[in-house]
């Protein structure tokens, strides 16, 4: 978090008052107190100068540290010192199924879809252009249909939003110390393609790759380095020809191509139209487009706060995957356009224990298709874990498990203190709780603290005199109907011990033996029973729960149908309602259906009787 500069100690009026105090000690000039006097004007200049110098010194000192810098250029510069390259604009990506139909008898056996084939799509009334970044080949299926496929034989062709731009540089003498400027603030640096030609007119070239993806660097390694500069544009650097990779020599020509993109605003494009027809042997053919995955993954430049948070973590990981935090840092640094959050833990911390594995939980941004999510996981393995992780340690991806919280809030409300009604305040409390979850929870490792919400509720209105909240945790399962099966439901916290008043475990309703039933624990017991809505026990022992491990087990559960769909909610009272700390891949979310806020009218009169 940025430290806000307090300029009160450098306040102009304070400084001027001090100068006046000093002038009071002399008798030569006495008019310093009159605003129109010449002396007052001189004091203005002195105080203003001191004020500005003080502020400037304060600003300069703040900009000197990553934690306190306010300017993006300063934060980026500090991050660069830690070897961290902040994320640039990122192109929105869609997956399309593309084909052409050629019925000509003399048709070729295969057809190539060239690099840069473009498609237009509209999002919120604005048209965007998407294009291919590599060539794809389609083979005749015997009927003249050519379905374009990737190198991995997938028919999901990636297209990226953006305008293809090219910059050409001629390498100068070493003594010139040239820096190659890409004057584009919206460049997607991941789309950068750098070719170094031997001569200006030659056609033979060498491709240079991004230094960030380098596994080892030698004097002949062909890498480029891209960095953001204070103006928000980018500069390209090459190695020194010795320790930091090959350096192009004088007379070489460098051709840089990249996408200039609009970022996340192009996400959500679903209908694509080819900008032109495909030319095959001089004839034009229409490209058939079926959208496989709507566009997603576009992002704007990494924010200052994000850089501030990620750069030190990235530095600590030292481009190696050793600790759980290393996994988090490296994955976020490379795939944050697709991910909201990452968590990792070793197999020794897993339940059950699995030595030799690292478990990685990925919380994808909403709207990403299964195909994109799968692609990201493959890239993480290919580009990161296979190269940077310790040998013989394999990576296992686990999906996030959402634990829902059912919150019932009661607050004493004095209508005499406000113009708003109790009902309106109840709505306000519910909205506040929803906002609290959106801001503070929903990510890995984020802890629910009841008092933090209640203090916000107490501050909402003076008419709210006090508040309290009951908390239940809820997991959702999708039972298979018509089959008698066992289910284990794990909660990320300890469950309360049974008592003789309250039911600790309850479930949603379902139909069993033609009766609407639900599950609950027996009073003062860990055993679970199935009862109908009239309270008649249908199954005396349908399972049990464990307090310490937070596990609820259903045995021989065979519902006919689930009320309201296919998902059954299992709710438990946590052992500690004040703090719920999700473990491993658990995240906490709010069950808005179970969110209740109730005002209890309290005129603060002293009652004579109970």
């Amino acid at each position: 978090m940025a430290t806000l500069i307090k300029s009160t100690s450098l306040d102009f009026n304070t400084i001027k008052t001090r100068l006046k105090d000093d002038l009071k000690k002399q008798a030569e000039f006495k008019d310093y107190d009159f605003e129109g006097s010449g002396l007052s004007n001189i004091l203005d200049v002195l105080a203003y100068n001191t004020h500005l110098n003080g502020l400037t010194a304060n600003f300069a000192l703040n900009e000197s540290f990553l934690n306190t810098a306010q300017l993006r250029s300063s934060v980026v510069s500090h991050a660069e010192a830690l070897g961290y390259v902040p994320r640039s604009f990122t192109a929105s990506q869609a997956l399309l199924n593309l084909s052409v139909l050629i019925t000509d008898a003399n048709r070729p056996t295969s057809v190539t879809l060239p690099v840069g084939t473009s498609f237009t799509s509209t999002v919120a009334g604005i048209s965007y252009t998407f294009r291919t970044l590599e060539a794809f080949t389609g083979v005749d299926d015997g009927n003249g249909l050519y379905v374009f496929k990737t190198k991995t034989d997938s028919n999901q062709i990636p297209v990226f939003e953006g305008t293809q731009k090219t910059k050409t540089f001629i390498i100068g003498e070493t003594s010139d110390s040239q820096i190659y400027v890409i004057p584009d603030t919206t460049a997607d640096i991941n789309s950068l393609n750098v070719k170094v030609f031997e001569t200006v007119g030659g056609s033979t070239f060498e491709s240079y790759t991004d230094l960030r993806k380098a596994i080892r660097i030698e004097s002949t390694s062909k890498h480029f380095q891209i960095k953001e500069v204070p103006s928000g544009t980018y500069e390209l650097l090459f190695g020194d020809g010795k320790s930091t990779g090959k350096r192009p020599v004088a007379g070489n020509k460098v051709v840089v191509t990249y996408l200039s993109v609009v970022g996340a605003t192009a996400d959500g494009a679903s209908a694509f139209t080819p900008s032109s027809q495909l030319t095959v042997d001089g004839s034009q053919y229409t490209i058939n487009v079926v959208t496989d995955t709507v566009s997603a993954g576009g992002s704007f430049k990494e924010s200052i706060e994000s850089i501030r948070q990620n750069a030190p973590i990235y530095f600590a990981s030292q481009q190696r995957l050793v600790t759980a935090e290393d996994y988090k840092a490296q994955i976020l640094a490379n795939f944050s356009a697709f991910l909201d959050d990452v968590i990792a833990w070793g197999g020794n911390d897993n339940v059950p224990v699995e030595y030799g594995n690292v478990y990685v939980g990925l919380k994808f941004k909403s709207g990403l298709s299964e195909a994109t999510q799968s692609d990201v996981k493959t890239q993480i393995v290919n580009e990161l874990t296979d190269n940077l992780a310790i040998m013989s340690i394999s990576t296992e991806f686990v999906d996030p498990v959402e634990t829902f919280l059912e919150l019932q809030t009661f607050f004493n409300f004095d209508p005499d203190l406000t113009n708003t009604t109790a009902r309106a305040t109840e709505n306000l409390v519910e909205t506040t709780i929803q906002n609290f979850f959106a801001t503070n929870l929903n990510k890995f490792g984020q802890v629910f603290r009841r008092s933090a919400i209640l203090s916000q509720i107490d501050d909402l209105d003076v008419a709210i005199l006090n508040s309290r909240m009951t908390v239940k945790a809820q997991q959702r399962i999708t039972p298979i109907t018509g089959q008698s099966l066992s289910y284990d439901i794990n909660f990320p916290m300890a469950i309360a011990t049974p008592d003789d008043v309250n039911r600790i475990v309850t479930s949603g309703r379902f139909v069993f033996n033609s009766r609407t039933c639900f599950i609950r624990n027996k009073l003062s017991s860990l055993k679970l029973e199935m009862v109908d809505i009239d309270g008649n026990v249908q199954v005396d022992n349908i399972g049990s729960y464990e307090t310490g491990t937070g596990k609820v087990s259903l045995v021989g559960f065979n519902p006919t149908t689930i009320e309201g769909g296919s998902t059954l909610k299992i709710s438990v009272t946590p052992n500690n309602e004040s703090t719920i700390r999700p473990l491993r891949n658990f995240t906490l979310d709010l069950d808005t259906d179970a969110l209740v806020a109730t005002a209890q009218i309290d005129f603060q009169n002293t009652q004579l009787t109970l």
Partner: protein
């Protein structure tokens, strides 16, 4: 021989008043920064100091003084206003308000305004009394657009 004193109620009017006004000399630095023979700056004293102050106030435009945006007579701004928008009464009011707000030593007696629109010229004479000495002073301001 003891001095016999009568009470005020008995008609003694010679008793000295217990409340006295402390006369204060005004001294300010001369903003022309002309130097004396000994290289020191000149001082403005008493009426001269107040006169300089009044002139400073009137010649300052709004927002020119740091952190006091409403300070000043804002007269120079009038030179860039349309002639038809400038009313003599408004100028007088502007001058009186500024001096009352920022120069407690002066009591404005009269403000005379003479507009010469053809020459882009505004001439203002402010006559005021210095409260501590009852000296009457006047400040002439001649505002002309240079271009």
């Amino acid at each position: 021989m003891p001095l016999r004193a009568f009470s005020i109620e008995d008609g003694n009017l010679n008793t000295k008043s217990v409340s006295v006004a402390r006369s204060r000399a005004y001294s300010d630095i001369d903003l022309t920064f002309a130097k004396k023979a000994n290289n020191d700056v000149f001082k403005k004293n008493d009426a001269g100091a107040v006169k300089q102050s009044v002139k400073n106030i009137l010649m300052t435009n709004f927002t020119e003084k740091p952190f006091v945006p409403g300070y000043g007579g804002n007269l120079s701004a009038l030179l860039f206003a349309l002639d038809t928008d400038v009313e003599e009464d408004d100028i007088i009011q502007q001058v009186v308000t500024a001096i009352e707000a920022y120069e407690p030593r002066a009591d404005v007696l009269s403000v005379k305004v003479r507009e010469l629109p053809e020459q882009h010229d505004l001439r203002i004479t402010v006559t005021f009394r210095i409260l501590s000495t009852n000296v009457i002073e006047s400040v002439d301001l001649n505002l002309t657009r240079l271009r």
